[in-house]
């Protein structure tokens, strides 16, 4: 089972990414597609966090004396994830608002049926 313990985080993160991609590629409903995008985002965030992880590491906060620097996990991915989450939220919010409007115009969220703009 060493394989799993080595890679379970990667598998989890990329599992989410691929599930998200699958949803985006296959699902017809706009809300589902947006959820898919959100899942991809989450997966990527997890992946970034995983990259920075150090075995048995602690959070990079010197909140009390005696914490050793070399036991701390990499702070950079955490900072990146912070940013990435916000960007994800921003896209999500915009997408939701567009979905609302789309529904008002077309009366459906089925993306296969919304194809007036083509060719």
């Amino acid at each position: 089972m060493t394989f799993l313990s080595e890679y379970i985080y990667y598998i989890g993160a990329f599992g989410l990414i691929f599930i998200g991609l699958y949803i985006v590629l296959v699902k017809k409903n706009l809300i589902k597609v947006i959820i898919g995008l959100s899942i991809i985002d989450t997966g990527i965030n997890l992946f970034l966090i995983t990259i920075g992880y150090i075995r048995d590491g602690t959070a990079p906060v010197f909140s009390k004396p005696g914490l050793k620097a070399n036991e701390m996990v990499d702070p950079v991915p955490q900072a990146l994830v912070l940013t990435a989450i916000v960007i994800g939220v921003a896209i999500l919010a915009l997408a939701i608002s567009l979905a609302v409007k789309l529904y008002k115009h077309h009366g459906t969220l089925n993306l296969r049926k919304i194809n007036e703009q083509k060719w």
Partner: protein, 618 residues
């Protein structure tokens, strides 16, 4: 006088004309005539001047060179003079139409860019002027609206195709020889492999061939010439397509050099011979297609292609006589073809746009000056002695016969025979025969139209009797190219292989003419009979019911017409259609379904990764 000033006047005049027109139409007209007159005068002043100046170096390290020598002078003067006449002709012709500022401005721009082409001394500035000419011509051809739109479209597409191909040639020359200035470039190709020269020739020939309407590239010309405003048709036919000829001369004699050109290939497969054959085809097919036309301007348009064939034949054949013939024919054709377009234009102007030969007729009494102009014009076109066309055609025939190319000569002669037929059809159906009733009240052409017609007609006779003047210039052009000069006197050519002396012919014709006139005068047997004073089975013919001109040459036409379908045109049209269909097919990939679009993205990604994993291509 500086060359750059000439160009500045030309282009500046074109621009200013547009804005002057916003102030006053009259001032603009005067200004336009003045500018074109100034161009003609200044261009003429460069006679025997040989100079070269670099006027601009900022363009991507290409120096721009202007140069003048006899060769470019000859073309520049022709352009400026014909341009002047058609501007004068336009004064009345275009007055009632809309958007006249645009018309004059574009007309001057076309003339300016053509002068720019012949004065440019390197290929980049040549190309730039060439393109300016192309698009301004396009705008002018489309000016008449209606069918002119598709004519303009055809023109510009072919023209752009040609010029992009030429661009490849130019850039390739630059990369090989690091210069595009003619004087530096000429002779450099002596050492090039014949394959490369052939490559260059083909590239440039496509571009020049489109402009010059050489046979398989001619399809734009008939609609464009017939749909353009008539004064512009005369520029188009008289000089604009000859810019293609200029290019071909430039290519063969300046860039490649004649001796290299003549030695390309062997016997029947030599480049010279192939181009001559193309020239002959360009004479034959369009000549007989012209015969079938019922639209006066379209007939002249096809005739233009055919005459361009003579010029190409003469130039590509490559002996000093044939080249002289070709260049002289260029000059003559500029005169008589613009004259003929003006004649048709005058008729069209007075009849409110009627060009259909079947519904015209009998205008000789109403528009006598125009008729005389037309008559002299077709004489020149046919090559009747004492007109300029005779000398140039004679030169071409002679050299073909003397150099053992009887088939080419025969074909050229056949072309002349066809020319006689369609020219007669043109003049007869417009001016002779019965006058339809609706044209009873027609007036003669206004002065601004008669003036160019008269001057050009006189020029035809003048250069027909004294061909030595232009031939002298052509001779010095040829010696500039390093060719053997002809022996020329003012009346014609005196060489050991054949002499032509127009003075003798002139005297002979004059004597015969006087004799004929005397006989008619003395005998006085003939009486003049009115047009409707004739009998048909005892009753007079009702007016307008009987028209000689319909179905002219009907049996001949029926015989030849199946062979003369314009396959080339069909081919191009189907090409265009298939491109359109391809586009219509391709844009189906944008299905409107965003699910497909994301699949494209992922597919692209997956494909690249797949290739790399499997074949490690990158």
């Amino acid at each position: 006088m500086n060359l750059i000033i000439l160009l500045a006047i030309a282009f500046g005049g074109a621009l200013i004309t547009y804005f002057l027109g916003k102030i006053s139409q009259k001032i603009r007209d005067i200004f336009a005539v003045f500018i074109s007159l100034a161009l003609a005068v200044i261009a003429a002043c460069f006679y025997n001047v040989s100079s070269r100046e670099i006027y601009y170096t900022g363009f991507l390290d290409f120096p721009f060179v202007l140069r003048v020598n006899t060769f470019s002078w000859f073309f520049a003067v022709t352009i400026a003079v014909i341009g002047l006449f058609s501007i004068i002709f336009s004064l009345n012709y275009i007055r009632k139409r809309g958007n006249t500022d645009f018309y004059y401005s574009m007309m001057l721009l076309v003339i300016a860019s053509m002068i720019g082409i012949v004065l440019s001394g390197d290929l980049v500035s040549f190309y730039i002027f060439w393109e300016i000419m192309s698009w301004s011509t396009f705008l002018l051809i489309s000016y008449n609206r209606g069918p002119a739109i598709s004519a303009g479209m055809k023109y510009i597409i072919m023209s752009v195709t040609g010029s992009v191909v030429m661009l490849v040639g130019i850039v390739s020359l630059y990369l090989h020889y690091d210069t595009l200035v003619y004087t530096e470039l000429s002779g450099l190709l002596n050492n090039a492999s014949s394959g490369y020269i052939l490559f260059i020739i083909i590239l440039f020939f496509i571009a020049f061939g489109v402009k010059n309407a050489i046979w398989p590239l001619h399809v734009w010309l008939p609609p464009a010439h017939s749909e353009a405003p008539s004064p512009f048709s005369s520029v188009l036919s008289g000089i604009l397509i000859k810019i293609g000829t200029y290019g071909i001369i430039l290519l063969i004699f300046v860039i490649i050099q004649i001796n290299v050109f003549l030695n390309l290939g062997e016997g029947i497969l030599s480049v010279r011979y192939i181009i001559s054959i193309i020239g002959v085809i360009t004479i034959l097919i369009p000549t007989f297609i012209a015969l079938l036309q019922d639209d006066a301007k379209r007939l002249l348009a096809w005739s233009t292609i055919a005459q361009a064939g003579y010029i190409i034949l003469g130039i590509a054949y490559g002996t000093s006589e044939s080249v002289a013939g070709g260049m002289f024919h260029f000059f003559n054709h500029a005169i008589f073809k613009s004259l003929l377009f003006m004649v048709v234009g005058a008729v069209e102007y007075r009849t409110n746009g009627v060009r259909d030969l079947n519904s015209l007729g009998g205008l000789i009494k109403k528009m006598p000056v125009t008729f005389i102009g037309g008559l002299i014009g077709i004489c020149g076109l046919i090559g009747v002695p004492l007109t300029n066309g005779f000398v140039s055609k004679w030169l071409i025939y002679k050299t073909l016969i003397l150099n053992n190319s009887p088939f080419l000569a025969f074909a050229a002669l056949l072309g002349t025979w066809g020319t006689i037929l369609y020219s007669y059809k043109l003049i007869h159906n417009m001016f002779l025969g019965q006058l339809p009733e609706k044209y009873e009240k027609i007036k003669k052409a206004p002065f601004s139209m008669q003036l160019p017609i008269v001057i050009l007609s006189l020029a035809i006779i003048f250069f027909g009797i004294i061909p030595g003047l232009p031939l002298h210039v052509i001779n010095s052009i040829e010696s500039g190219f390093g060719m053997e000069p002809l022996t020329i006197n003012i009346w014609g050519i005196a060489s050991d292989t054949g002499t032509i002396n127009m003075l003798n012919i002139f005297t002979a014709v004059l004597v015969i003419g006087i004799m004929v006139w005397l006989i008619f005068k003395v005998s006085k047997k003939s009486t003049v009979i009115g047009q409707y004073d004739n009998y048909a089975a005892g009753t007079t013919v009702p007016k307008d019911k009987y028209n000689y001109s319909v179905n002219f040459y009907d049996p001949l036409c029926r015989m030849i017409s199946p062979y003369l379908k314009d396959f080339i045109d069909d081919f191009y049209m189907s090409l265009a259609r298939s491109i359109k269909n391809t586009g219509n097919g391709i844009r189906r990939i944008y299905t409107g379904d965003v699910g497909h679009y994301v699949i494209y993205i992922i597919l692209f990604l997956a494909l690249l990764i797949f290739i790399q994993i499997n074949w490690e291509l990158w």
